[in-house]
């Protein structure tokens, strides 16, 4: 793996780490499998791209894009809470609706962003080589987002959200409005996802309506893989493991992509990735079962 392949894995991993943080909030904290992300990721890309080509400055475009992601989260929460639609189905419904919405926003399936002033441009002007500029900004954004999620989950509201996910009945009995927790949780998660989409599109050089394909798998691999490799009960460590999980997934993919040497071809990338992720999931299990056997006499 070359330096370029490695930095490529790092920056892509960092961009998708925001989706992983969102998925941590929904899947782990709220116990709400949210598939809206397949639509809110390209939504963020679409809104940012459309605003940027309309002359809005890249930072404003990126922030507005993140906020529209919150709306997508509200939509799923509405379908689930008010219309009583099963959580998975509610997310799928919002995601497929967003497909059409994204086409409407962009007015066509693809908007090119090459040679435009993006959020990464100021870093290049500061003298950061263009290869590393996205990484510097993404690292800052991811660290800020991670700490914000940590602090949020430590507040009274955040504790209530964790209780609502861990035991909704008990939480309800203690006066926590579980519905409100789901609304806020989904809004934050999809806001992060749309922000990720906006940042990724500016790095890629285009927003495309098909960008959402596979986002959910990547997010799950990051959350499950990350927390499996680094099991913990502390929130700051769990969110850290989600970020690391996202980066490790990309490194695994980069290794899979350079596996031609051992007789694998381009079309095998998906299965190689699946095997690598499965191994990452299995190693900690094996380790703990060995430890248990070794300490069995105790």
């Amino acid at each position: 793996m070359s330096l370029y392949a490695f930095t490529g894995a790092l920056e892509t991993g960092l961009a998708f780490a925001l989706v992983a943080l969102g998925a941590y909030l929904t899947f782990r904290v709220l116990d709400f499998p949210d598939l809206t992300v397949e639509g809110s990721f390209p939504l963020g890309a679409a809104v940012a791209a459309k605003l940027m080509v309309s002359g809005v400055d890249a930072w404003t475009a990126t922030i507005v894009a993140g906020l529209t992601g919150c709306l997508a989260g509200f939509a799923t929460a509405f379908l689930n809470l008010k219309l009583r639609i099963l959580h998975i189905l509610a997310g799928i419904l919002t995601a497929i609706a967003l497909y059409s919405v994204n086409l409407r926003i962009m007015d066509r399936p693809n908007i090119g962003l090459i040679n435009m002033t993006t959020v990464y441009t100021p870093f290049e002007k500061l003298g950061v080589p263009s290869l590393y500029a996205p990484m510097v900004l993404l690292l800052i954004v991811v660290i800020v987002a991670k700490i914000a999620v940590d602090l949020f989950l430590g507040t009274g509201f955040g504790l209530a959200m964790r209780a609502a996910g861990a035991n909704p009945r008990m939480a309800q009995a203690n006066g926590i409005q579980v519905g409100r927790m789901i609304v806020v949780g989904l809004a934050i998660a999809n806001g992060l996802t749309a922000l990720s989409g906006a940042l990724f599109a500016q790095m890629l050089g285009a927003a495309d309506v098909s960008m959402g394909i596979g986002v959910i798998v990547v997010a799950l691999a990051a959350v499950i893989g990350g927390t499996a490799l680094m099991p913990s009960r502390l929130i700051p460590l769990l969110t850290l493991s989600c970020v690391l999980g996202s980066i490790l997934y990309r490194i695994a993919l980069a290794l899979a992509l350079s596996s031609d040497a051992i007789g694998l071809t381009a079309s095998d990338v998906n299965v190689v990735t699946a095997v690598l992720v499965a191994v990452a999931l299995w190693v900690p299990v094996r380790k703990s079962s060995l430890l248990r056997r070794a300490g069995g006499a105790k």
């Binding site: 497909y99 285009a206 960008m211 993919l253």
Partner: protein, 324 residues
């Protein structure tokens, strides 16, 4: 962590060793495609055939690295990064998004893009003549007007033309826009029937039965993916289907005027050969496949035409480059 580091360093060594085996006169080409659809793989095959005709043999004086993002944008970004790290003599990008990813990522390595419909709107180049920079290539914009002429020739009483396409595809959508613009001048109206995803293709066709005189399918990988199901609907309803490329005529469409994707790959190879010989992509004009000499031909399917209730005149059959 130490183990991971060890794995990285050993992987690096393997790559370095692999690279040093090739001598200086070996040209390196990295190809990236967004999907593995038959048309795109034909372009890649044509590219390799074309390069062979120029005297480059894979494994001898040409090293080829072909990768598909399998529809995933994150993967596409990473493949592009990996290619840049390997510093090939040329990167060939198949489809619009992969071309954008490559052009956005490197200003140094020469890029030849292919099967891009609108290189200007996609921001790959800022002008078509001597585009400057490190990228040039070939557009697959279809000769829509010529294709509609054939529809009118075979279905003279055409009043309403049905359009089956996937609105999420840039190529398909821009073709539909240009058909709608041409329709009043050519004396017919259009009825759109969108098909989002392979499963919706047959129902998109059924929705047009009784409402149109003929169906036209633009260059659309979704519809072509389930084309047989659309042909069946059309044969049952005696509705002639016309398409924008050769392969689908073989699979049951009545006729098209178009280019061959293997041929398009070969024309891409001509540009790659120039890059290998030292020409900068910025000095090469962006080409439109439909305007290149001898790129267009008439293809018809006699048997399917009869099943769809239209007769092909002997004169037309004589003009055809291929009768399926």
């Amino acid at each position: 962590m130490a183990k991971t580091l060890l794995a990285f360093t050993s992987a690096l060594f393997c790559l370095a060793l692999g690279a040093s085996v090739y001598a200086a006169d070996v040209k390196t080409m990295s190809i990236i495609t967004m999907n593995d659809t038959p048309q795109l793989l034909e372009v890649k095959d044509g590219l390799l055939k074309g390069l062979a005709a120029h005297g480059y043999t894979e494994g001898k004086n040409l090293k080829v690295d072909f990768k598909s993002a399998q529809g995933n944008f994150g993967t596409a970004q990473q493949i592009v990064r990996q290619f840049i790290g390997e510093k090939p003599d040329v990167i060939v990008t198949i489809t619009t998004p992969t071309s954008q990813a490559a052009v956005a990522a490197t200003k140094e390595i020469p890029i030849i893009f292919t099967t891009v419909t609108d290189p200007l709107k996609s921001k790959l180049v800022t002008r078509l003549k001597h585009p400057g920079g490190n990228a040039s290539g070939i557009s697959d914009l279809v000769p829509t007007e010529r294709q509609l002429d054939i529809v009118k020739e075979i279905v003279p009483k055409l009043k309403r033309l049905g359009l089956v396409y996937d609105p999420s595809l840039d190529n398909a959508r821009s073709t539909v826009e240009s058909i709608k613009a041409l329709a009043p001048k050519m004396g017919f109206t259009t009825v759109e029937s969108p098909a989002m995803g392979l499963n919706n293709v047959p129902s998109a066709g059924q929705a047009l039965v009784g409402r149109v005189d003929a169906i036209f399918v633009p260059n659309d990988t979704t519809v072509y993916g389930a084309f047989e199901s659309l042909v069946k609907v059309a044969q049952d309803a005696k509705l002639p289907i016309f398409t924008a490329e050769r392969r689908s005529v073989q699979r049951g469409a009545v006729a098209t005027v178009g280019f061959d994707f293997v041929d398009m790959g070969k024309r891409t190879a001509d540009m790659v050969d120039k890059v290998f010989k030292g020409t900068k992509p910025g000095d090469m004009d962006v080409q439109y496949m439909k305007d290149l000499p001898n790129s267009l031909a008439l293809y018809v399917n006699k048997e399917s035409a009869e099943k769809m209730g239209v007769k092909l005149s002997p004169a037309l059959l004589k003009r055809a480059a291929q009768v399926f």
